[in-house]
Point group: C2
């Protein structure tokens, strides 16, 4: 059975909520190795094995230092369990920064990958879209963006079940000659690399509004722009929903209107709930990592664990490697990447 | 009286709509020099002087070539009227690309400015926020971002009446050490430059969601990220409104609910209508330029003309220069900017 290492620290609702999520996932057939304060996690059993690891570094301001100086932190122990083969994937909560450092150090970069990336599936109704990088690499090179395309496509096809994902390159214009210098060159490289590939279709540049209109299943960008874009999408949609709720609550007439609308709105509000997508995915490592949002409840965290299992069983790491190899986009051995 | 040069071509509703806008603005005390197909613009008079310039290059795919090869295009003649001192500012419609090229060639860069930028005021309810650059410079240097801060602040204070605008730097984290390399360095430079200035307050890095939460009056970024951000904000808010409308229209119950809510929603929908902000502003030239969105009606275009007048009367160009001089952020004479 697939074993997933889960860090119980970092969730806003506390380690108990993560333990509840682990039991939900175990009931669906996952074996969970759960690292956290044993006195808050309940007993081992039923597919959940508790490892007492009370120290949390989820709230540390300097993740790089915390991961290096607190070797018994729960996230470090969980990442090491994956790196040493005792678990097949990592699930943690809250801080993507800490997760990224711990995973890079203990799970390590996959063979031939320049840089790991952080991917998020944005719950656009009727056509979810996976955006990467959303924060791991504020500055990128052409070859990173090319690899992100194949990493994102492998994730979308294995974990989300999208057949031959359409991959777009985020830019400030749809024409190939629009964009920053690195994006213009990446566009050209992606045309060449995707020609040799049967795992993705490169649909060219897409603009900000194209992220939402179903033009692509995967959107590739640098970790600076991707992070800004993601936070904007969340903020605009949440602001709109709150504003409409406030307007509805401001008058009796509005309250009645809101009540009559709410039945129709509920499926939509649920569909755009980020919990449904399980969190952020760490791609480009030797094993998959998933970071559930700190605010998630047990349902969202359980979803993250099940997604991690699916990524393992569908071999997202192996398929990323094969696709990059077929496209000639693997980092060549002996050629170190300048940072 | 302030004379504004207006290009009648490029608006989706046609030159007649722009002529109507010019007359609305003239009624409010502006003198308009209107360039376009005279047979569609009506007679001169009442503050509007018609200049027959039927050729339009608003839809050309290659603005740089079109501006250079069609010297009698309406936008070129309008920009030249400003460059030659016959008008104090430029207003055009539709293509920011064409406007930018025509303005750079004929109005020219202001003394000491590295690069002109395109600014948009996003109609966030209760605290509009001006974002620049939203497309003129996909790649930037530190010194461009520093100048954008002062250009945006001068615009916000003169045209929008914001006293000592709070300027934020868009990044993928609020900590000073977060961001791309150029953003990290710009953060440092902005702290130093703003210390000497009494025209703006630098509030540090802001993230994507910070654009909407009132943390800053002006948000500085490169033209790549700014363009993506702007199109995302528009797309998410419009998608949300359309989805809610569709849900309301899908059932009798929903229709009634929508009807009861619509009175309360109307002011909000009007407040986030981009027409209310007059369009995109070309900053950093010897004279102000405004590009109304192609979809605008006469009200939005008239607003653009009145905003241009205000920019002239409040001396946005002179005040930008003084602020940059006081902050020691002018481009030094004789030191050309590498491109």
């Amino acid at each position: 059975m697939t074993v997933i290492a889960v860090d119980a620290n970092g969730a806003d609702l506390g380690p108990g909520e993560v333990a509840a999520a682990a039991r939900l996932a175990a009931a669906a057939g996952v074996e969970v190795l759960l690292f956290g304060p044993a006195d808050q996690l309940g007993p081992s059993g039923g597919g959940v094995e508790i490892v007492d690891a009370p120290r949390s570094i989820a709230k540390e301001e300097n993740p790089a230092r915390a991961v290096r100086t607190v070797p018994d932190a729960s996230i470090v122990l969980a990442a090491r369990a994956v790196g040493e083969g005792r678990a097949a994937a990592l699930v943690c909560n809250g801080s993507t920064g800490t997760a990224l450092v711990a995973a890079q150090l203990h799970i390590r970069r996959a063979h031939g990958i320049h840089r790991p990336a952080l991917a998020i599936t944005v719950p656009v109704p009727s056509h979810p879209v996976t955006v990467l990088d959303v924060g791991a690499n504020p500055d990128v090179r052409v070859e990173y963006l090319v690899q992100f395309a194949f990493m994102g496509a492998a994730y979308a096809s294995t974990v989300l079940g999208v057949e031959r994902p359409r991959v777009g390159l985020l830019s400030n214009g749809i024409e190939p000659e629009r964009g920053s210098q690195v994006v213009i060159e990446a566009h050209e490289a992606l045309i060449a690399r995707s020609r040799a590939s049967d795992v993705l279709t490169f649909v060219g540049n897409i603009e900000g509004d194209g992220v939402l209109n179903g033009a692509a299943d995967v959107v590739v960008t640098d970790g600076f722009t991707g992070n800004v874009a993601l936070k904007l999408i969340e903020a605009v949609s949440q602001t709109m929903l709150h504003t409409i709720r406030d307007i509805a609550n401001a008058s009796t007439r509005g309250k009645l209107g809101g009540l009559l609308l709410s039945g129709g709105l509920r499926p939509f509000v649920e569909e755009i709930d980020p919990e449904g997508q399980g969190g952020a995915y760490l791609l480009g490592l030797r094993h998959l990592g998933v970071v559930a949002h700190g605010s998630f409840t047990r349902q969202g965290i359980a979803k993250a664990i099940l997604r991690a299992r699916r990524g393992v069983e569908e071999d997202v790491v192996g398929r990323t490697h094969s696709a990059l190899e077929a496209a000639g986009a693997l980092r060549r051995a002996g050629v170190p990447t300048a940072s």
